[in-house]
């Protein structure tokens, strides 16, 4: 087990290095490097200054050399400065990551809480009216683009009804006398982003739960469990769902990374200060250092969740052992 995890971690690391190099290369292809930004800010700059600046920032070096410098810098903990915000990247990544993490986890938990009962209800009565109705909503959920849904939610709940804030992270200038007030206030800002981020995964998850439950319920051991006198509740949850969980684990783990990166649009839409919005604004603002780190984090997220899926596989399915 440990050697399996170590091996997979090593593989993950190699993939991260390759992908970050590709990202790095792509970034250099973007029009406008930092010096060009300076030129546009100061048109009277002399050519010698430009050459000197390029040399100073290492922009005259070939890409692979600049990449190596960047790698050695970040591995020693120096993530560089954000050009837009004039603060070290480390300082801005922390809170953004936390915010995105809260948003993604809440959304994942929420979609699972809704999707699992829906999927099971469908699987217990396949092709019934209930099944068709839930399926209709699932497909609607899968088909609706989240940015459109987000806008509609804002129009209805923030603009028309005024129940919830249209965007942001917390009420400005609010002080929190206790942690509970903080949770309540920030929770209010989370509702709309979480809903618009979850609708799609609810549709997807409950379709998966349905099919994997249907398959699980057809197994002989379900009949055995019933023949032992187990109640319907025990048969469904302990015997059928426990088995249906095996294929679900992968899908959930992989979905988490897609929720994490899918938060990009949602965060931008709701002005939620997460990594997604950071990526967006850093690319728009040519903020090289921030964009690179955000990319690496997003890529690592996907890879790590894949690893988590593999490990969880071994936990939920005793037939799989990692040697």
């Amino acid at each position: 087990m440990t050697t399996f995890i170590l091996r997979r971690l090593l593989q993950t690391l190699v993939v991260i290095v390759i992908l970050s190099y590709v990202c790095f290369g792509l970034m250099t292809l973007m029009p406008g490097d930092p010096v060009e930004m300076m030129i546009s800010a100061n048109p009277k700059i002399s050519t010698e200054d430009i050459v000197r600046l390029r040399e100073f920032y290492g922009l005259d070096q070939p890409v692979y050399k600049r990449y190596l410098t960047w790698v050695s810098d970040i591995t020693s903990g120096d993530l560089g400065y954000s050009r837009t915000y004039r603060i070290p990247v480390t300082e801005m990544m922390g809170p953004s990551l936390r915010a995105t993490f809260i948003l993604s986890v809440t959304s994942l938990v929420f979609s699972l809480l809704v999707a699992i009962p829906l999927g099971i209800a469908c699987a217990l009565k396949p092709n019934s009216k209930l099944d068709y109705t839930i399926n209709l909503f699932n497909f609607a959920g899968i088909s609706l683009p989240s940015f459109w849904l987000g806008i509609v939610l804002i129009i209805i709940f923030a603009v028309k009804l005024g129940w919830l804030p249209a965007g942001g992270y917390q009420t400005t200038g609010m002080s929190y006398p206790s942690w509970w007030n903080e949770v309540l206030d920030k929770g209010k800002y989370l509702i709309l982003p979480v809903v618009s981020l979850s609708i799609q995964s609810i549709g997807r998850f409950s379709r998966f739960v349905r099919s994997s439950m249907l398959e699980s319920l057809r197994n002989d051991f379900i009949r055995t469990a019933r023949a032992k006198g187990m109640s319907a509740r025990v048969v469904i949850w302990r015997h059928a769902f426990r088995n249906a969980l095996i294929p679900l684990v992968t899908i959930i783990a992989i979905s988490f990374s897609s929720i994490f990166s899918g938060a990009l649009i949602t965060e931008t839409l709701f002005a939620y200060p997460g990594v997604g919005r950071l990526i967006y604004s850093s690319i728009m603002g040519n903020d090289f250092n921030v964009a690179m780190i955000s990319f690496v984090i997003s890529v690592s997220m996907v890879l790590i969740m894949n690893l988590v899926a593999d490990i969880l596989y071994g936990v939920v399915d005793p037939r799989i052992s990692y040697k």
């Binding site: 197994n219 002989d220 051991f221 009949r223 055995t224 469990a225 019933r226 023949a227 032992k228 006198g229 187990m230 109640s231 319907a232 025990v234 302990r238 015997h239 426990r242 088995n243 095996i246 939920v316 399915d317 005793p318 037939r319």
Partner: protein, 320 residues
């Protein structure tokens, strides 16, 4: 003495899109204490549906549409869902054909035994574990305490079937249904399991309904036999009598179509065709279209199931 199991006029119908299909058509039999009834017939003749009907495990679109099944005088078909749940796995247990798939792959053998024991015998977790290990030892599983923590994929086919038997017997059932318990096992294991089975039955004085299509197995384990064809009863009687002097042409054909030790023949006899689909069922005797002794009335009138000796019954106009 009243029989432990008394089934009267059992009828199970599947309401399919193409029309209702009577999988079991007015079957009656009874089993005394410590007695074994063997039910034989080809695939698709309603043996398993009969058992599942008694267990009340027939799902939609199937339904028990007629009859009663008394277990110690209580009609199983009249019990409420919680009541039948407390009978299933307790007083009445079942062993299945495929030990490979009949055990839950993600739960340990011990866990699967425990949940049943805790429910029916109302034991604590610890006592239930002791009971489970005791049962595993009883069915001849070596190092039972370790096997208790194993998953089904860690056991061989024979061991799994032993574990299934241990599970079925763990709550002292008075009535056991064995649905082709040895079909999926190889011959040496089959013999071991049958021997185990007979020993346990003698020890525990259970009534057993043993379903198989293997006449050799029937002659070894059962006291009396019921031959079924297309959901209906053909012949019943004491096993030895029926197997040595069958009266119904279907029983005779079944016996003839198996190889016999010491008789070298080029070609085994077969019964032409297969069990008819529900909508192709002949009007008269269901076997008429495959029967070698068919008479004109067989095509139009269904023969009644009547006594020919005090212990034997057949449904045939032209018995052997």
């Amino acid at each position: 003495m009243n029989p432990v199991v008394d089934v009267k006029d059992l009828e199970t119908t599947f309401f399919l899109k193409s029309g209702p299909f009577r999988a079991v058509n007015r079957i009656s039999y009874s089993i005394n204490q410590a007695e074994t009834l063997g039910i034989v017939g080809e695939s698709g003749c309603g043996k398993s549906v009969t058992s599942f009907s008694l267990m009340r495990l027939i799902d939609r679109p199937g339904k028990v549409t007629h009859g009663q099944a008394l277990l110690n005088g209580k009609d199983l078909f009249k019990l409420s869902e919680p009541e039948i749940e407390s009978v299933r796995g307790g007083q009445m247990a079942m062993i299945f054909q495929e030990p490979m798939t009949a055990l839950n792959p993600v739960l340990t053998i011990g866990f699967q035994m425990n949940e049943q024991i805790e429910k029916h015998l109302k034991l604590t977790k610890k006592d239930a574990k002791d009971r489970a290990i005791e049962m595993l030892q009883l069915v001849g599983i070596p190092s039972a305490a370790e096997r208790y923590d194993n998953y089904s994929h860690q056991l061989s086919g024979g061991m799994r079937q032993r574990a299934m038997i241990a599970m079925a017997l763990s709550c002292n059932p008075q009535f056991l249904i064995a649905d082709e318990p040895t079909t999926a096992l190889d011959v040496t294991i089959q013999a071991q399991i049958l021997e185990l089975f007979q020993n346990l039955q003698e020890k525990l004085k259970m009534s057993v309904q043993f379903i198989t299509h293997d006449l050799g197995v029937i002659s070894e384990v059962s006291d009396k036999v019921l031959v079924m064809y297309a959901g209906q009863m053909c012949e019943t009687g004491p096993t030895q009598e029926v197997l040595t002097s069958p009266r119904h042409p279907y029983t005779a054909a079944l016996i003839e179509s198996r190889p016999q030790m010491g008789h070298r023949i080029d070609r085994l006899k077969t019964i032409e065709g297969s069990v008819p689909a529900p909508h192709e069922l002949p009007v008269g005797c269901p076997f008429s279209n495959r029967c070698s002794r068919v008479k004109s009335e067989c095509w139009t009138i269904k023969p009644a199931f009547v006594n020919i000796t005090p212990t034997r019954k057949i449904a045939c106009f032209n018995p052997l």
